[in-house]
Every structure is written in C-alpha cells, then in structure tokens.
C-alpha cells in the first residue's frame, strides 16, 4: 500500500479483521441463498455503517470522516477479498458526485443521510449493457426526469439516484416516478433496471460526468484488487495441499511458473490501482489516464486470476459448493462495470492523442 497514515492503517486493519471474522465468503453464500430484496447483506451493512464507513469520503461538517479515496479503497479492498455484498462502493461514488457538484443545500440535505446510512445512494448512468457515457437519452423537462437506466448497482434498494440526463447529472429520490425491475445476474448482486417516468429531479450543477464515473471505476478497482488477491491466495493454498502422483501440486514447475506470472501481474495491478486512488486524492490532472491504466490492468489481471482459480482447483472449482465460482462470476461483472479493459485502453490512447 501507499504509505498510509496511522488513522488509515487502523481503518484498513479493522476492515480486514471485520471482513475475515464477520463477513467471510460464507456470509455472501448465505445472502445468495436467502436472496433478500435488496440483494446485499443488510445486517453486515448495518455494522459497516456503525463503523463509519458510509461516511469515509463525506466531510466532517456533514457527519462523515472527511477521509480520501486511498482510505475508501483500502476498505473496499478488504470487502472484495471476502466478496462482501455491500452497497459501500455505490453509495460512496454517488456521495462523490454530490460533493463535486452539489450546492450547499443539496450537500446539507443528502450527505448527512448518506453518512449515517439512512440513505443508500447510487449512480444511474448507463442505458444499455455496455458502459457508454456518450450515449445518454434520458432527459429532463420541467424538473422531471424520464428515461430507462440499465444495470444500476444497488438499484433494487437505493433511495437516491445520481442519474445522468443529456444535459448533466440530477439527484432523483427513489420514490415518485421510479419503477425498479430486478435483474438476476451471475454475481447475485443488485443490478436493477430503473425506469424514471417524470421523476422529480434536482440538477447537480457544474460536475463533469467523467469525473464521477472515474471515481466509481477507481472504487471498483479497489474491490477487484481485494478479490484478485484472495482468489490468488486461496489457489496457492490449495496447490500446497492437493496431492496427485504422490506430490503436492505446488511442487510442479509448470504450476509454479503460472503462479509466479500471476503474482507478477498482481503486484503491477496493486500499483496501478493505488496510483489511480492517489491521483484522485491529489487532484491531479491525469486522473483519467491513471484510472484507465488501473481499470484496464485490473480487468485483465482479475480475469486471469479468477479463471486460473477455477482451472487450478480442477473439478472441485467447478462445483457450487466451492467459492471459486463466486470469484469468477463477480469478477466478470466488475470487469464490465464502468468500462472494460478495451474501453479504457481506447480512452487512454485518445487522451494521448493517438
């Protein structure tokens, strides 16, 4: 990790301990089997809120901790390790949008509620199956937003949407004029269709959509980092115990070199992801490049590690009883969200003028 302050280190270690002890993958499995309407672990979320995580980014004046993206990322990474089903990434990205573009009144109205977990907020941007912020048709007239948003993270439960319309971002409360349809996806998390029909909308002036989706992408990268590390560590442990031909699998050089290659990619992924989080916190002009490097590298690496997790576990990795499939399925969803690797490579080149 980048050099963390004492406070950041404490929070990260607490998150790690909490995820390991209170929210292991078995908690995700329970949530999947119970399939609550919100499609996240509500009791777990309550604990996270009590620990102050919903307000990590939110200024102290509005009831938050006033910390930064490196801090949020270090917590999301721990949640990713155990596949904790939490709305933290979504609600934090939406809070960012309000912090970037909200008026004092909008901030005062929503940020304290997000910080206390009273409101779960989320971004509603895409209108199709692929991330394409240039293709938005939803529009606002007379203060009412209409349009259909697809695959909205935590869309089943969010009480506040930061929705993209042709002329910018709007705050839309999740009641009047909002219809949600659950989409059952491979990761068993919430990615609902949300249709706005003349829903009352309050404009966020002066915030750039790209700045918001970059923050959402960076948060997603942190979760991906935790997942990749855990998938890799579990695979490494398995290779040390599984015996075939009278040898543990870990002693076969063909497998050692595959693991060494994955370890190499993982270290680069960590650097790229931390680099993006730090670029955001530093207010650097190259945030888009840094985020694109992070999301492309993270996408490729998590794809490699999650696929190898199944392959190197062999038959047991194919069973629902084993966790490997959970990592594989969640991995593809996060790889796709906020632009897949190809999307970010394309943007990176365009930003570089080629």
């Amino acid at each position: 990790m980048a050099v963390l302050t004492e406070e950041q280190t404490m929070l990260r270690d607490m998150a790690r301990e909490w995820a390991d002890n209170e929210s292991p993958v078995t908690a995700f499995r329970k949530m999947r089997d119970a399939a609550p309407a919100a499609l996240f672990d509500t009791a777990g979320w309550q604990s996270q809120v009590e620990m102050g995580w919903a307000g990590i980014l939110i200024p102290e004046a509005q009831g938050g901790a006033g910390m930064d993206y490196v801090t949020l990322g270090s917590v999301l990474e721990q949640l990713g390790r155990t596949l904790t089903a939490s709305p933290l990434a979504a609600t934090s990205a939406a809070a960012s949008a309000i912090m970037l573009g909200g008026s004092e009144a909008q901030k005062a109205e929503w940020l304290p509620k997000i910080a206390t977990g009273e409101v779960i907020a989320t971004l509603a941007i895409d209108e199709g199956p692929r991330f394409d912020p240039a293709k938005i048709a939803a529009s606002v007239s007379g203060g009412k937003l209409s349009g259909a948003k697809e695959f909205v993270a935590e869309g089943d439960s969010a009480q506040l949407f930061v929705a993209a319309a042709v002329d910018g971002l709007y705050l839309v409360p999740g009641d009047a004029g909002v219809t949600r349809s659950t989409r059952h996806m491979v990761d068993f998390r919430s990615h609902a269709q949300v249709v706005f029909d003349n829903a009352p909308a309050d404009k966020l002036e002066g915030v750039d959509l790209g700045a918001v989706t970059d923050r959402a992408a960076a948060a997603t990268c942190a979760e991906m980092l935790g997942m990749a590390e855990a998938a890799f560590a579990q695979t490494n442990d398995y290779l040390k115990t599984r015996v075939q031909f009278g040898q543990v699998l870990a002693s076969f050089q063909a497998l050692q070199h595959r693991m060494a290659k994955m370890f190499t990619e993982l270290e680069l992924m960590r650097s790229a992801v931390e680099g993006a989080l730090e670029a955001i916190d530093g207010g650097r002009p190259d945030v888009p490049q840094a985020v694109s490097v992070a999301k492309a590298v993270a996408g490729d690496t998590l794809k490699l590690v999650s696929s190898e997790m199944v392959q190197l576990h062999g038959g047991i990795g194919m069973t629902d009883e084993h966790d490997a499939g959970f990592y594989l399925k969640r991995a593809r969803v996060l790889e796709t969200m906020w632009g897949n690797s190809a999307w970010h490579r394309e943007r990176f080149a365009r930003l570089g003028g080629y």
Binding site: A2, N236, S251, H257, M259, T264, E267, G275, V293, G352
Partner: protein
Amino acid sequence: MATAEIDAPVNALDAFRAQAREWLTENFDSALKGKDNSMSAVEGPNNDTPEQAKWKKAIGDKGWSVPTWPTEYGGGGLSRAEARVLQEEMARVGAWNPMGGSMGVMMFGPTLLEYGTEEQKREHIPPIVRGELRWCQGYSEPGAGSDLASLQMFAEDHGDHYVVNGQKTWTSGGQWADKCFALVRTDKSKKHEGITFLLIDMSSPGVEVKPIQLISGSSPFCETFFTDVKVPKGNRVGPEGQGWTIGKRLLQHERNSLGGGGSSAARLFAGTPLSALAKKYVGVDGEGRIADGELRTKIIRHEMDLRAFALTLKRIQLDAKSNSGPSAATSIMKNVGARIMQERSELLIEIRGMAGLGWEGEGFDEDALKDTRHWLFGKAVSIYGGSSEIQNNVIAKRILGMLDHQ
C-alpha cells in the same frame, strides 16, 4: 555503516545542503552538464575527456561517488537523508555520479564491505570509490549457466596460493577489466559447499580474454580462459566453501540494479513516444488514430505496462523508506523490466517495417540502426543475471512458498 541508518535533523540537513551546493559550485563545471561519462555494469574502454576525468577525480576523492559508504574506506560517510539531499543537489546542477553504475559500486563493493577482511576492504574499496579500477564478474561457465553451482573452474591449494584452471564466459567487459571476482571450485566432492570466492588480477600470467560476437554484432561479453593462474590466498573472500553464500548475496545486488535501478524505467519514458513514431510511419485514420489498429492496441498495452512498472518502482521505494522491509514486489522487477524493454524494442521494429531491420550503412536512420542492435542485444536481458525462468522459480519458492518436488 551505523551512521547511514540515522536520519539527521532537518536543520542539520539544511546545513549539509548548503555545504553540498558550495562543493558542487567549486567542483562541477556547468559546461559539463549533459556530458555524462558514467561507468556501467558492462564496462567499456575509458574514453574520458580531461574535464570529465577531473570531475571523476573530484567526486571520487570526496567519497561522494558512494555517499553512504564508510569514510575509512574512502566513502562519503553520509546518512541516507544526506545522500538524498546530495542527489537532489546534483540533479539540480546537472551533475552525475561517474561511478554510480559501475560493477564495483553496484555489486562487488557492497559484497566486500559485508564479507571482506579489513585488509581486503582497505585494498579494494578505495579504488572502486575513485573509479580507478574496473571489475568484471567470473561466474558463468560454458557448462554452468542457470545451474550456476555446477561450475567447474578449479582452484588447487598450493600452500600460500591457489593455482586456478578453467574457463569463464559472459565476462562482461573482461577485455577492459583490471580485476575479476570469481566463483571457483575448491572441493569437487560437494556442490554448493565446494565453491569459494576469489579475487583474480586480470594481468596475471595465464589469463586470456576473447570477446564474444553476439547476434547483435560486437559485444562487451568475453570468454576468459585461466591456465595455471597463481592467486594468493589473501585474495580469498570468506572461508573456503563459503563462496556460494557470498556469490548469491552479490547476485541480489545485481538483480536489484538490473530491474529496479529506476534509471532504466526513466530512460524508457524519455525519447520520442512510440505513438508519435507510429503515426509517422503508419499514418492515421480519419479520427487521428494510428491507422494500424492492432499495432495501436499493442502500443497502448505497452504504455500501460510501463506506467504500472513505474508505479511499482515508486511503491518499492516508498516501502523501503517507511522501513517496513523490502517489499515482495522487488522480486518481480527484473522480469517486468525485461519484458517492457523487449516489447518496446519489438514495437520499434514493427513500427518501422523494413526500415527497422537495417544492419548498417546507407539508407537507414541512425536511430533505427541503434534500435535494431538494441533489440537484438536486449534479448540478453531475460537471460543474464538469472533468466526469467529462474526468477519465476525464485518467486514461486521464496515468495509463494511453493515446495520442491520430493
């Protein structure tokens, strides 16, 4: 090197900065800026101009070529914080460290400081500090590459000296070196425990050096033959049979300098960007993109890889400063550095087409000819200093704790 561990208080650092500035003003001629004559791990002939030689002597006599080495052996005796200040001040005026990349400074010196006797340190360290003597490495043999410990060159005990017979290969800069640190066998009945670390004078009778022609043309690598070469016992570092331990320690210094030196990554960021070169040779489409989509994607991937590598380098340096011990990421740097350098060379060839494959002479850009030779020589990067396969073994066994076949 106890003093090097203690960071000086800030006001003392300011005083040191003033001192360093003053010394640089007196000793570094600003006309020299940009005329870097650094020694490197692969030694070349000495072609220093009188002005360069004067700077080399000044910094060598001051001991600031190795700022944190102890003063009793000619080093600078500075703390790490002071050394950083010195580095900043040198960068400010465009001064360089002529000895910074030499084999003596990067690899042999640190090892001798750790394992050498007082007498050996007094004899060998000061000339390294001043850049007066060039060292070469006698490790690999024709039959001992990746399996280095199978080396055969034999040192026979003759009382107060050894008589050495055998052959070393890939002796970088052997034809220009004054001295060689070598791994030799003193016991044929044991593999690792039969190896001893010896210092051999290259001007000794019986030493013969032949340069090796490589796929890239002439090279700094040599074959070195030893026939009945007398080496005094005082030139043995550590006890007999301890050479493997000492030799491996030296390899750690080598691998760190090959992958993580930082200068290599910085060099890759310098120069014409690949994208600009590709636009020139390949052209652009209606939207200003490189017209060859597949090439464009390769360039993007390469640039992203390079950024992740540079960020990793930064992370390792931060970890080192925060005293949390060397980061596990250090182990990946040689392989990633090699892959990035080689991919860049391959892309330079691909971008230029046939014009990127010229060997010499008329009709080719000078830059293109240089890049072509660099492409070929660069194939060595994933072979020397522990091949990529050996590095992967190291990662699997030491970092990931994967076991050997039983």
